[in-house]
């Protein structure tokens, strides 16, 4: 079998992403899980590179590995979550059974969808007919042609997907407000702190100068 470089890389990156994912759900230590998660995410980003979606690959690393997983690690360390232990550390048979039955369902659903939507036939028919990717941003009506350039992302976002973009922005705002409200100290805690004496961060004149 004559493996081309791209094929070889595809297998490597797929193995990294799926293996990393498996290790995430199998590792007992949350920090190990987080590290494997990063590995898996980088694997997915590499798959994006193979698909010539460079912008998405970089975004994947920037958003997931650079921000989301740092947040995860921060929380894991902040709460000092140890490895699973004690009662229920071992998976019960019921759980595993239910998990696999559910997985079977998902697989069945996937197969049925592929079978009846015609995607599978399209995919197999044109297995080795990847179209050439342009550098230029171009659009034919509502169809924005896939290209390597970042500009086509901007073009798509600010024309066809203007409303979803706004909604996404609003979602982020809502998430931000929600997180601030969730992580804010409740009023009675504040009052308790005040009764104890001024907390150094708020009333110290030094901190105002910073």
């Amino acid at each position: 079998m004559n493996l081309s470089l791209v094929d070889f890389l595809f297998y490597v990156f797929s193995a990294i992403s799926v293996g990393g994912g498996l290790a995430v759900i199998l590792s007992r230590n949350p920090v190990t899980a987080a590290m494997f998660m990063i590995l898996s995410l980088v694997g997915v980003a590499s798959l994006f590179v193979l698909l010539e979606a460079f912008f998405l690959a970089v975004l994947q690393v920037l958003v997931y590995a650079g921000a989301v997983m740092v947040l995860f690690l921060f929380i894991i360390m902040l709460m000092d979550v140890g490895p699973d232990s004690g009662k229920g550390a071992k998976l019960s048979k019921k759980r595993i059974l239910s998990g696999f039955i559910a997985l079977l369902g998902v697989g069945l659903l996937t197969v049925l969808t592929l079978e009846y939507s015609g995607v599978a036939t399209v995919a197999t028919d044109s297995a080795d007919h990847w179209q050439d990717v342009t550098e230029e941003t171009s659009a034919a009506g509502a169809n924005i042609v896939f290209s390597k350039s970042v500009k086509s992302f901007g073009y798509g976002l600010f024309t066809k997907y203007m409303l979803p973009l706004q909604v996404a922005g609003f979602l982020l705002l809502a998430a931000m407000v929600g997180v601030i409200v969730l992580s804010k100290k409740t009023d009675d805690v504040d009052a308790h702190n005040k009764a104890d004496g001024p907390s150094p961060g708020t009333t110290n004149p030094q901190s105002e100068e910073a």
Binding site: S4, L5, V31, M35, I38, F54, F55, V58, L59, V61, L62, A65, G66, A67, V70, L71, L73, F74, M77, L78, K148, S149, V150, K151, G201, S207, A210
Partner: protein, 372 residues
């Protein structure tokens, strides 16, 4: 795999190895520069003892080089190599060994997209000197450099000791806080360069540099963006006003308290590699890269000599910036942790947003004015 592919790969690998060694040695000499400049600022002379035997025999140059401490990085490196490896008993071994590598690799990977010069051949065809001329240059830099924090966080966590742990936690929070301001502060730059009427360039660092040829440097057009970027850069490279993860006076040594010998050396070099790469990125974005002076055409002729001079000029600018990093470190005291957070979220982020909005309006106005 055919021969051509292998040849191309071999060439790329050679370039990469050359670049890694150059950046590493610059990082090593940045350590020396730090020690020397710090000493001079404190009325001392700094390292001036190390010398190679045959160099010391040369009459005037030998003692001069010795007094400059040129051979000190060699001695330091050897010392790190031959020191006894001590691994504390309470650490998580795997992550303890992993984290120095995780800290160093992103610092070195960033430079793949860093353009440091250009070569114009006889036909007038210009090629930028860069390992990979990626359209997404700056995003790539941000993405990879954001991975550098894992080294620090893992080191802090795996040391299984209080102070390193605090250092790791601080570092992760600081990174998330300042990355945002950093990204927002460079957005106006790309907005300006990609504005209608300018050459379209995407997010590539090469075209940013080329847009500053025969034109004012971007630091003159957008001083405020440059200022914000510089502050965020200080925070991202953990340099002194922001060296929360280390803060040797309140956290002993921060994340690398439990590290010794070569593993500590790797952390050390990684930190300085970050400084070198950060300075180079700033030079590329705001100081015109390898181009001579604002508004002035490059005085050197195209060709090999010209491209070498260009690279030299780029390095000179980078070294000036590295000096600035060192200078600030030995001038300013460290922020308190809450001050760092406050500065990042309450000052830098809103200012970066205001800056972005200002340039959006300005670019739109200029565009309208040009159209009418």
């Amino acid at each position: 795999m055919d021969i051509e592919l292998i040849q191309m790969l071999a060439l790329k690998v050679t370039y990469a190895v050359v670049m890694v060694s150059v950046v590493m040695s610059i990082a090593g000499y940045t350590v020396l520069a730090e020690r020397k400049v710090c000493a001079w600022m404190q009325g001392r002379v700094g390292p001036n003892r190390t010398v190679l035997p045959f160099v010391s025999a040369i009459p005037i140059i030998g003692p001069f080089l010795r007094n400059l401490g040129i051979f000190q990085p060699l001695a330091d490196g050897l010392k790190f190599l031959f020191k006894e490896e001590i691994v504390p008993g309470h650490v998580n071994k795997f992550y303890y060994y992993l984290s120095p590598i995780v800290a160093l690799v992103p610092a070195l990977t960033t430079m793949t997209v860093l353009p440091f010069g250009e070569f114009t051949n006889a036909e007038g065809h210009t090629t930028p000197l860069v390992l990979a001329n990626v359209d997404l240059g700056i995003l790539f830099v941000f993405a990879i450099s954001s991975l550098g924090v894992y080294g620090i966080v893992l080191a802090g966590w795996s040391s299984n000791s209080k102070y390193p742990f605090l250092g790791g936690i601080r570092s992760s929070a600081q990174m998330i806080s300042y990355e945002l301001a950093m990204g927002l502060s460079v957005l106006p730059v790309f907005l300006w360069v990609n504005a209608p009427g300018m050459t379209e360039s995407g997010l590539s660092l090469v075209s940013i540099v080329n847009s500053q040829e025969n034109a004012p440097w971007l630091v003159l057009i957008q001083p405020f963006s440059a200022f914000l970027f510089l502050i965020a850069l200080f925070a991202e490279t953990n340099r002194l006003p922001f060296d929360m993860p280390e803060s040797e006076t309140d956290l002993v040594g921060g994340f690398h308290t439990e590290y010794g010998s070569f593993k500590f050396g790797i952390f050390f070099v990684a930190e300085y590699a970050h400084v070198v790469i950060g300075s180079a990125i700033f030079t590329t974005l705001f100081l015109g890269g390898w181009h001579f002076l604002p508004w002035v055409a490059d005085p050197w002729a195209p060709g090999l000599i010209g491209s070498l001079l260009g690279v030299g000029w780029f390095l000179a600018k980078t070294f000036c910036l590295i000096f600035f990093f060192i200078w600030v470190r030995w001038t300013l005291p460290r922020f308190r942790y809450d001050q760092v957070m406050k500065l990042g979220w309450a000052k830098l982020l809103p200012l970066a947003l205001v800056n972005l909005i200002f340039y959006v309006i300005l670019v739109t106005y200029l565009d309208q004015a040009a159209a009418s």
